[in-house]
């Protein structure tokens, strides 16, 4: 299956290699570098490449390429999903998945990779099982380790792999028992020039942070589960009970995890929280253009819109922007041609506006198309689909846990065409 893994940074240096079978020379990556050269953007590199003797499957995560070498037929998604799982594990262990962090924890990373795959076939990918074998580094522990000569490798053998619920380690103990659930909804939408919705849908995810002693068995139920159009679950969720009763019944993993993701389809009407009035034009005569954007609240269910930000990928010909913002700051990056307007909180009384002129490269024809606006926003305490958790019950343990549910709505891929 997966033969080797190379970690490559943005500038094309291989800074980690791991082989699960015989060693494959680094030169195999040259095919990848070639493809990377050809692609304008790093994200335009095809995830699957064919070379004379191998197949290269790569993912891009946080400016790092995870490049795996394959020799025989294997479902590409299998490899891609696994590579993302590796990146997630790094994120989980070190709080970040960047070159610096990986280099600092090279040995731990190597040990992790050793445990995650056996002969190229995934062995232990559950975070809880891995943490039993290899403890994540913390400042305190590294101090203690230097003093006592202790190690990061768990001295107990992992029993999680043996149990029927590999995602939860045994013998968890907390003094404060708490279970928090974040319902995060993202609005994916395309609005056209006039502001009408071309398509819109809601992607939701329930992130959980469960710190409970023992083997709790939780049941989470919703006020309006029919709303959910399509769902996917963490393996701990009992699918049968969802089918029959529409409740989530599960023995949770310890710590942070994604309990479920769901989808509220475009068939239902999706509320669009803001409207955008925009006017971007490039003049036929003279090397300049005009930009005027106003944003106002639309359907916000009485909540305030925060973290409002507009990102515009300008045409190559735009040299600089001379604009005034009534609220927030704007910046224009000359190299990437990206205009970012960071607005912050939306005040319905005084709508934020950005206007001014754009100067263009002389002699280059007027851009054909106006750039589209990508909008980011956040609304606290609101799930835009109207989904509500009705209750959380715990069985199997005797104490009373502290429970909490939080709702956030964000803009996902929210685009306004101009």
């Amino acid at each position: 299956m997966i033969h080797s893994l190379f970690l490559i940074n943005q500038s094309g240096d291989i800074f980690l290699e791991k082989h699960w079978k015989s060693v494959i020379g680094r030169s195999v990556c040259d095919y990848f570098f070639e493809a990377k050269e050809k692609a304008v953007d790093p994200e335009n590199v095809a995830p699957v490449l064919q070379t004379p003797h191998h197949y290269l499957i790569s993912i891009l995560r946080g400016k790092l390429f995870f490049l795996s070498v394959i020799q025989t037929e294997v479902p590409p998604l299998f490899v891609i999903e696994f590579l993302h799982r590796v990146a997630d594990t790094f994120q989980d262990y070190f709080g970040d998945c960047s070159e610096g962090v990986i280099k600092d924890n090279l040995v731990t990373v190597y040990e992790l990779l050793e445990e995650m795959l056996d002969n190229g076939f995934p062995l232990a990918t559950e975070s809880n099982v891995l943490k039993e074998m290899i403890r994540p580094p913390t400042i305190l522990r590294s101090v203690v380790n230097t003093l006592t000569g202790g190690s990061n490798v768990g001295d107990t053998l992992p029993t999680g792999q043996l149990s029927n619920i590999p995602w939860r380690r045994a013998g968890v103990k907390y003094t404060n028992n708490e279970a928090y659930f974040d319902v995060i909804e993202e609005i994916d939408a395309i609005l056209d020039k006039s502001g009408t919705t071309v398509c819109a849908e809601i992607q939701g995810v329930i992130e959980a942070c469960v710190r409970l002693t023992g083997m709790p068995d939780l049941t989470l139920s919703f006020m309006n589960p029919r709303l959910l159009d399509d769902v996917s679950f963490h393996p701990c969720v009992r699918f049968k009970r969802w089918e029959s009763e529409r409740v989530l019944s599960f023995i949770p993993p310890d710590g942070n995890f994604t309990l479920m993701t769901y989808h509220v389809s475009s068939q239902n009407l999706v509320a669009i929280p803001v409207y955008v009035k925009q006017n971007i034009s490039f003049f036929e005569t003279g090397p300049c253009g005009r930009l005027d954007i106003t944003i106002g609240p639309k359907q916000t269910m009485g909540k305030t819109v925060e973290g409002l930000m507009v990102t515009i990928h300008m045409p190559k010909a735009v040299l600089s922007a001379n604009l005034t913002a009534t609220q927030g700051n704007y910046s224009y990056d000359l190299a990437t041609k990206v205009l970012v307007w960071d607005i912050g909180k939306l005040n319905p009384q005084k709508l934020p506006n950005l206007r001014g002129s754009l100067s263009m490269q002389a002699g280059v024809p007027r851009p054909e198309e106006n750039p589209s606006l990508n909008i980011e926003l956040k609304i606290q305490q609101l799930a835009i689909s109207g989904l509500k958790v009705s209750r959380l019950d715990m069985y199997g343990e005797k104490y009373k846990p502290f429970k909490g549910v939080k709702y956030v709505t964000k803009a996902g891929k929210f685009q306004v065409r101009t």
């Binding site: 079978k21 090279l106 005797k398």
Partner: protein, 1113 residues
């Protein structure tokens, strides 16, 4: 010292660039480069006694490996530490060893003994890790050792070690393919494993070593299907992909009727139109049409195993793992009936929200799917709309999908969407969009003109790439109906002045040449302009100029003769030989000379033949001959190790090959029956004609087949056990006992002497005999076996009641419990068996036991009916204190087809198991439906979850054809619903069977007073209390019905209660003796509250579910 020399040799080749020679003496290290000093440091650290130093050294070495630096010269120093006590050092040494063992084979051998020791460790995890490292060392010499280790590990007690063994198989295979045959044996063995932990890994090994041995799967097929949902995600992917291939070889195409009908209807016009005669028709029909007729006569019926696969994979569409979702999607695409494939669309669309790499792969597969089944994704059209921020490759793929989805109804929306894309800054994407428009225009006639007009407008676009692409597409579109569009051709002719992209110029020239008759005035002028600029044109344009010239010469030689000559002359001296060749060829062809001969006559036909319009096809067409989701599909080329997806077989292979094993849980037994029913169908269908389609057969209505296959014995045992129930309650029923005794005496009297004589020695002899035979039994079993012997002993001697006092105690209990009619045949059987064994041993005249047994069965059954009446009246009389009678449900353990004539049913008799209070008594009824005698029925190879115990039933020596016998075994389920798996053996065959208890059978009734009940309930509040509200079924809104239903579901006894609105029940779990309290409070209109108090949460929740089900149905 061989160590150091080897290391010296090695070093020369492997050390990194620019390192000077160096010695091994650390003292001389001073003169060497710092790098090598460091290596010497490392060696020193590794040799030290302190673990912390060793660890530090190993960490640095591993960091070197990770960075890709060579650390092979440290091999000897590192290998020494393989037996280090510190676990982290050990692990890092393993990492090092696996990395460099291949390069330093001799030295690596030093470490082997450590692992061999590890393989014998009592800790399963150490055994597993030793095997893992041992098998990862790629040294050919140790192949035999690995082979041995794998074989041993494959029969290890621990599933985790077995899993590791499965992982080791492909490693060994890649090291030495010669071992294939032996490895296949191991794989075969592991495939039979029933744990989820092993399933994924062994299928992976199967796929790598012997994917062609599909026959190994037959017997494990159903098990794999049933285990699938509990297997870890990666294993799921591998199993699903393998099962897809398997299903393609074993089942019939579910869409066969449809596809044949489609083809047939096409053929009908040709065939039926010409001749009406039916008989003649029959002869003339092609093979396919015949098959269609066959299909019409005999509608397709889906194999239940096929259905099983589809049903069990469906929930996995909800997996968080994209690979699993994709695997299920491809399985449905390749295997499901057309009507059911739609379910995968939603899940695939969900994956589009994932990482862009995932999107890329999913879109490729969606693109292939949309060609074959467009309707599936039509509702999700908008999910494929393109955002300006998508990477180009995703945009192009989305465009592909949108184009495939386009039809008459949605084309206007799609075209509007395309219009915005054309303005995109990403020019590659714009080009792809124009192509897409072209394809929409060819596919959908209604919009062809709209598209064409749109494209013509694009001709005035400022971007040359856009114009060029438009020209190319317009050219293709015009070919379809050129006569209507001479103005467009004229417009394009004008473009030759401006447009510079060679491909576009070439396209225009070809177009003008091809349709020069439509633009007779402009064409020569274009040629004139082109002749002027000929020398500066690109090669493809030059070729088209020659082409244009030739065509004009043929149609309009008067005006263009000279121009053509001029162009041909220019071409004659061109640098490119293709152009020179072409010019020479065309001159010979079109200009008539004496030599040119016959060909020139046909020149016009050659050049101006009517050319078929190009078909604009999706690049994804026909990609579905590759298994979707595979690497080969993505690359559209066969990748190494790709297993071809076979075509459906014409006729289904024998489905009974999968029949050997008995399903895992009781639910399956009904499935089993169903398949029985359907297996038979094809045989009858010809004469009788099929009635229900497959789907209806799948619904759970199989009572008919159930009773048929049960052959009446089920009913008997059912009613029999009903009477047992009542007996249990009514201890005082002396008469019954009397009857019993009489009955027994009659039959037993003959053996009495023998039994008495040899009771003790016989049992010991028997035991010995068993020991010899059952080598595989677990240690504890020998004990229980002897217990069992004793038990059967005491049973057999029951009738001679005057014996020692202590035994009498036991017997009394037994009489209350065991003296039930249905179990009697067993006793008889047992005696019969003993008889036989005695006879065997002592050379007695064989007594015809077979003749006795039937008599008994007969009697007992008649007795049962008598007792039934009694028990019923009894339950009515005293319903408050005892559990009323209820029909005990019997489950199928072995079907008569799977068991080759032997059928076994079991029921939970709810009698205390005499020899061990912690065991649940399971009563089994064996029926021999075959024509020959079945001998020595016994059980073997008991596989249990830890803590569980089984007491086997005594061997049934012989079961004549057509007879039945019953036996009782005890199982301690440890208060869990885990299944007990074992083999049921006859003298010829072994059958894997398993018994899984419903939760209600894991308890036994206790008698509590109302006060006791309340007190106990008060102590089991909070988390231990589970309450459900329900509405009672109309039929069971009276007390009696509630009591009946609850006690049927769970083995509980009624607790007296003052109110008639409330029913209380109490029991204790069999193993741990935890109290189980059930309260049912009824209110108006059937509204009811059900409360279960139990210390064991799991049991409580499961019980609530079961009772809820019983009360509401």
């Amino acid at each position: 010292m061989s160590v150091s020399s080897a290391f010296n040799d090695e070093k020369g080749g492997s050390s990194s660039v620019g390192e000077p020679e160096y010695g091994h003496d650390p003292a001389s290290g001073g003169i060497f480069s710092s790098d090598y000093k460091r290596h010497d440091d490392l060696k020193e650290m590794l040799d030290s006694n302190k673990d912390s130093l060793k660890l530090e050294a190993m960490k640095r070495i591993v960091a070197m490996i990770a960075r890709g630096k060579n650390a092979s010269d440290l091999f000897p120093a590192v290998v020494k530490n393989v037996a280090c006590k510190n676990i982290e050092v050990k692990k890092l040494v393993y990492v090092y060893l696996v990395r460099y063992a291949e390069e330093q084979q001799d030295l690596a051998l030093l470490s082997i003994s450590t692992f061999q020791r590890g393989l014998k460790d009592p800790n399963q995890l150490i055994r597993a890790s030793a095997l893992r490292v041992l098998s990862s060392i790629r040294v050919t010499i140790i192949v035999p050792i690995m082979m041995l280790a794998i074989k041993e590990a494959a029969s290890d007690m621990s599933p985790y070690v077995r899993k590791t063994a499965a992982h080791a198989i492909p490693k060994l295979y890649s090291l030495d393919p010669e071992q294939k045959d032996q490895l296949i044996e191991v794989i075969e063995k592991l495939l039979a494993d029933k744990t989820t932990l092993v399933a994924g890994s062994v299928v992976m090994a199967f796929e790598e070593v012997c994917p062609e041995r599909i026959d190994l799967i037959h017997k494990n097929y159903r098990k794999l299907c049933n285990l699938l949902i509990d297997v870890e995600e990666w294993g799921q992917v591998v199993i699903i992909n393998m099962l897809t291939r398997y299903a393609r070889t074993q089942f019939l195409n579910p869409n066969i009727n449809e596809s044949l009908l489609e083809e047939g209807s096409g053929g009908e016009k040709a065939f039926y139109g010409s001749d009406d005669d039916e008989d003649e028709d029959e002869e003339e029909k092609e093979k396919k049409a015949e098959a269609m007729a066959m299909a019409k006569r005999k509608p397709y019926v889906m194999d239940p195993d096929h259905r099983l696969l589809l049903r069990n994979t469906k929930p996995l569409l909800q997996s968080r793992n994209a690979a699993v979702v994709m695997a299920v999607a491809q399985l449905y695409f390749h295997l499901a009936p057309k009507a059911e494939v739609g379910v995968i669309a939603k899940a695939l669309v969900r994956l589009l929200r994932s990482h862009s790499e995932v999107q890329y792969v999913v879109l490729q597969n969606v693109a292939t799917m949309t060609i074959k089944r467009r309707g599936m994704f039509e509702p999700y059209l908008k999910s494929f709309y393109i955002r300006s921020t998508d990477p180009t490759q995703i945009k192009v793929l989305k465009l592909e999908v949108l184009t495939n989805l386009a039809n008459e109804t949605n084309i206007s929306t799609i075209l509007r969407e395309f219009q915005t894309y054309i303005k995109s800054m990403d020019k590659d994407f714009v080009a792809a969009t124009i192509q897409a428009i072209g394809r929409c225009a060819t596919n959908i006639g209604e919009v062809r003109d709209t598209c064409l007009n749109g494209l013509v407008q694009l001709l005035s676009n400022r971007d040359e790439l856009v114009v060029a692409e438009s020209v190319v597409v317009i050219k293709k579109l015009l070919q379809m109906q050129p006569e209507k569009h001479s103005d467009i051709i004229k417009h394009m002719a004008k473009l030759t002045d401006n447009i510079q992209v060679p491909m576009a110029r070439a396209s225009i020239l070809w177009l003008i040449g091809e349709y020069c008759e439509h633009v007779p005035k402009i064409a020569p002028d274009v040629l004139r302009k082109m002749a002027k600029s000929f020398t500066n044109e690109e090669d493809i344009v030059k070729l088209q100029i020659i082409n244009l010239a030739a065509k004009l010469y043929l149609t309009n030689s008067k005006q263009t003769k000279l121009l053509t000559q001029y162009v041909l002359n220019l071409a004659k001296y061109d640098q490119n030989y293709d152009i020179r060749d072409r010019a020479r060829f065309i001159r010979q062809l079109i200009v008539p000379t004496e030599k040119s001969g016959a060909l020139s006559k046909y020149a016009k036909k050659l050049f101006l033949a009517l050319k078929p319009a190009p078909v604009l096809e999706s690049p994804f067409k026909d990609r579905d001959h590759f298994q979707l989701g595979s690497l080969s599909h993505l690359l559209n080329a066969k990748a190494g190790g790709y297993q071809e997806l076979p075509d459906w077989p014409e006729a289904a292979p024998d489905p009974s090959v999968r029949n050997v094993e008995v399903p895992e849980w009781t639910k399956c037994s009904s499935r089993e029956k169903r398949r029985e029913k359907k297996v038979e169908k094809p045989f009858y269908s010809d004469s009788e004609g099929e009635s229900g389609p497959t789907e209806s057969a799948d619904s759970e209505s199989d009572s008919a087949s159930g009773s048929e296959s049960g052959s009446g014995s089920g009913e008997e045992s059912g009613s029999g056990s009903a009477s047992e129930e009542s007996e249990e309650g009514s201890d005082s029923e002396e008469e019954e006992e009397e009857m019993e005794k009489d009955n027994k005496k009659k039959t037993k009297i003959e053996f009495k002497k023998q039994v008495q004589e040899s009771e003790s020695e016989q049992s010991s002899e028997e035991e010995e005999r068993k020991h010899k035979r059952k080598s595989k039994l677990q240690k504890s079993d020998s004990e229980s076996e002897s217990d069992e012997e004793e038990e059967s002993e005491s049973e057999s001697s029951q009738s001679e009641s005057e014996e020692s006092e202590s035994e009498a105690e036991v017997k009394k209990k037994k009489k209350a419990g065991d003296s039930k009619p249905p179990s009697k045949p067993v006793k008889m059987e047992k005696e019969g068996r003993k008889e036989m064994s005695l006879l065997d041993l002592d050379d007695f005249e064989p007594t015809p036991s077979p003749q006795i047994t039937p008599v008994n069965t007969f009697r007992s059954s008649s007795l049962v009916t008598d007792l039934e009446g009694l028990s019923l009246s009894d339950s009515v009389l005293s319903p408050t204190t005892i559990a009323p009678s209820s029909t005990v449900k019997s489950y199928e353990l072995l079907h008569r087809i799977t068991g080759e004539g032997l059928s076994v049913e079991y029921c939970f008799s709810r009698q205390p198991f005499s020899s061990d209070a912690n065991m649940v008594a399971v009563q089994m009824q064996f029926t021999n439906n075959s024509t020959s005698e079945t001998k020595s029925l016994h059980m073997e190879d008991v596989k249990l979850q830890s803590g569980m115990r089984v007491k086997e039933f005594a061997e049934i020596e012989s079961l004549p054809a057509g007879e039945s016998a019953t036996a009782v075994m005890g199982i301690d389920f440890c208060d869990s619903t885990q299944a007990a798996n074992f083999q049921l053996c006859t003298h010829t065959r072994k059958f894997f069977v398993s018994i899984q208890p419903p939760v209600g059978e894991l308890m036994q009734p206790v008698f509590l007073t109302e006060n006791e009940f309340k007190k106990e309930q008060g102590q089991l509040m909070g988390m231990n209390e589970i309450t459900e509200k329900l509405t009672l079924d109309i039929k069971c809104r009276n007390e009696h019905a509630i009591v009946q239903r609850v006690t049927t579901t769970a083995n509980l006894s009624r607790v007296p209660c003052g109110s008639d609105k409330e029913c209380r029940f109490a029991g204790r779990t069999v193993t741990s003796g935890s109290l189980v309290l059930v309260t049912v409070v009824t209110k108006d209109e059937g509204a009811t509250q059900l409360t279960v108090n139990c210390e064991k949460m799991v049991i409580g929740t499961m019980l609530v579910k079961d009772i809820l089900l019983a009360l509401t149905q």
